[in-house]
Subunit: 478 residues, 2 copies
Amino acid sequence: MSFLQDVVDILLQYVVKSFDRSTKVIDFHYPNELLQEYNWELADQPQTLEEILLNCRTTLKYAIKTGHPRYFNQLSTGLDMVGLAADWLTSAANTNMFTYEIAPVFVLLEYVTLRKMREMVGWPGGCGDGIFSPGGAISNMYAMLIARFKMFPEVKEKGMAAIPRLVAFTSEHSHFSVKKGAAALGIGTDSVILIRCDERGKMIPSDLERRIVEAKQKGFVPFLVSATAGTTVYGAFDPLIAIADICKKYKIWMHVDGAWGGGLLMSRKHKWKLNGVERANSVTWNPHKMMGVPLQCSALLVREEGLMQSCNQMHASYLFQQDKHYDLSYDTGDKALQCGRHVDVFKLWLMWRAKGTTGFEAQIDKCLELAEYLYNKIKNREGYEMVFDGKPQHTNVCFWYIPPSLRGVEDSEERTSRLMKVAPVIKARMMEYGTTMVSYQPLGDKVNFFRMVISNPAATHQDIDFLIDEIERLGQDL
Amino acid sequence: MSFLQDVVDILLQYVVKSFDRSTKVIDFHYPNELLQEYNWELADQPQTLEEILLNCRTTLKYAIKTGHPRYFNQLSTGLDMVGLAADWLTSAANTNMFTYEIAPVFVLLEYVTLRKMREMVGWPGGCGDGIFSPGGAISNMYAMLIARFKMFPEVKEKGMAAIPRLVAFTSEHSHFSVKKGAAALGIGTDSVILIRCDERGKMIPSDLERRIVEAKQKGFVPFLVSATAGTTVYGAFDPLIAIADICKKYKIWMHVDGAWGGGLLMSRKHKWKLNGVERANSVTWNPHKMMGVPLQCSALLVREEGLMQSCNQMHASYLFQQDKHYDLSYDTGDKALQCGRHVDVFKLWLMWRAKGTTGFEAQIDKCLELAEYLYNKIKNREGYEMVFDGKPQHTNVCFWYIPPSLRGVEDSEERTSRLMKVAPVIKARMMEYGTTMVSYQPLGDKVNFFRMVISNPAATHQDIDFLIDEIERLGQDL
């Protein structure tokens, strides 16, 4: 016990430092340096508890402070104290979600929480089904699996050989997990048709309809449209109402990948961006992103009850005995793809109790306000070009920093190839100084640009100002 | 911070109680009771931190003490202090495994640990590849996915429609995840051929070869044999050498599902049971089972390097930028099915440092010795019938308890139907008293029997004695 308390003391120090702006976000070392700096190898003989504590300190020394108010690198940032406490409790309880028998409270909390999330999606009385899965990619894969099963239940026994050639549709800005899922499920990535987006990254409904008609003419069977609520790079929201109309007309399963944007359902000010989500057949929503729940916490919500169970159940009698002494509807394991399943619900549930819906709303509204502050600050500032016009719909703000040497230079191949190198160099310098982190990427014909996202409620206007100053400091000589 | 310390105090009390034999394993309530006993609902308004602490206490009050030395219900039991500390550190670090950029230490530790595990499997120099995945079912699904891709790489783009009809083979005692994976991957459960087992639950190699030949004659393409090292119910080890010979002869991917039995590789005394595993193409091994690592920790190991990457990569440029300033071979995310991936390695790594390989060996040997103690104690005892003869190969001990009223009664339909009800009633009583928990299930034509497993190194001979006494106390009137 004193060992556990010693580790806790180390962790509490780390947590305090994570929020301290005078602490580095990262103490960066190259992989080979880090491998050599310390002996990480596994041996036959045990180490002492003193050495174990040293291992913990060393691990944390080189870790990224993902809770740091100037860490903007991913969609999941921040460190919520109640969420952390809940995750610690989950570890101590050390159980598995498959039956009520071994996880009575957690199974009930999953039931309560998923129903509440479905209510917020807008399904009457929170009806339907769902599961917490290990991340948005798996949640999206579930949706695809269930949509296929709904249309052709024989696929479960007979495989893809017994059913017509399927096609799915998603936008060119959608998350790569849609294609990954299609590859895994034996559908094939060629059968995922990418629909064009407007300049803001939103799917163009007329292009969707055109491609559906085209696919049908070729004899393919459209079975799924995966719309995105909050794309990864632009933070765009696909027009869900128009997409729902098309799905209805052609009788296609409508999935909404709200892994990133789902959190906006908590905000009375912003939830209109997901109007139409209530018409979806399934929704992915990752509370570990915009709601700041510790990793990992991703929900798949399904409107039709019972479908997940019939799609995935294998009736393993050693696990799901049918002659147990309690109501077996709480044994949810057989609707999962996993057998053992980590308890991901408790941290969300406890944070929700601690904040209330209004608390989540306030922190989400704050992050969106910060994004707008950043946008207003740089949209006309010298040395910046926005990747797309108009104020951000989510907290994504995409921009190029144009160093002085490139300002006023006419568009040319040379300019493009120099601009391409700006963001990677600034990013590398940020990491070496350890002062802040923000992501960059190319997209389509657009060369490397910064994608700023804000999901940490600890960030302030001053942190946004700092980011801008830092980009300019590190990039002025390029 | 004082809130976090308050939660830690509650958790430390819980941990101490978990190991106290005078504490109940479970304070059982039926689902509806538990739902009504307390208000679990999510509201608009926040609760106070006092109330949050109460939520934590209430959750733990009704939780199963999975670390209790008399909790024998699952393959994953026990609560290791270093493992728990490591999981707490993981929560505080709150990051994702996809890139070195955001998880430098954890990515390196995964590299070190998987290589060590491959060494123990027997692949020269620990060569090959691997990943920690969310549970054994997903690890097995990965193996199937990769085996299919290895034989028909075009399946990734073209789907199952472009390739011949595949068949996989596994024993009738294997884990249901093999069928679940086949359903998900579009192969279909009918294409999983179940091979007969001997009376100890081991796959019969001659039956495997016969069914392979038969499938080929029908024009199907055998692509995977999933052998089991440690079956769920009997704890049987399939004869891996004979199976490897057959896989070699017919050029079929050999997977070993060692989710449960893989831990025995740590024991010089018991690892012979996995002889032949070094000839496998892939191996599932769940340290969260026999090695007592907190949930969840499952590894898939693959002998051929690079295959996972080519099978799963989607080249998402926003995540896996190719112009970063460090060695990109450490960005492992694109070989996963998941996008975000929880850090599951640290608890295993830290426990390994604290125990050394010899420490894991000692705890595994102890659990197997306890199983043999139980077997010796009941094999000739009045009121017990063993489900199969011979001493246990793993810690699974399968038996019927025959209450006095059924002793000496001739085998008949009535006896069978009464015997079927014995284990469920005793189990229900165990849970109501809260004194111990052990699993039961039917299997094939065998009615409900107890399956005892021991994976908690805190268990002792006295706990085994207690279990026997408790079964007799609770079952004598049946």
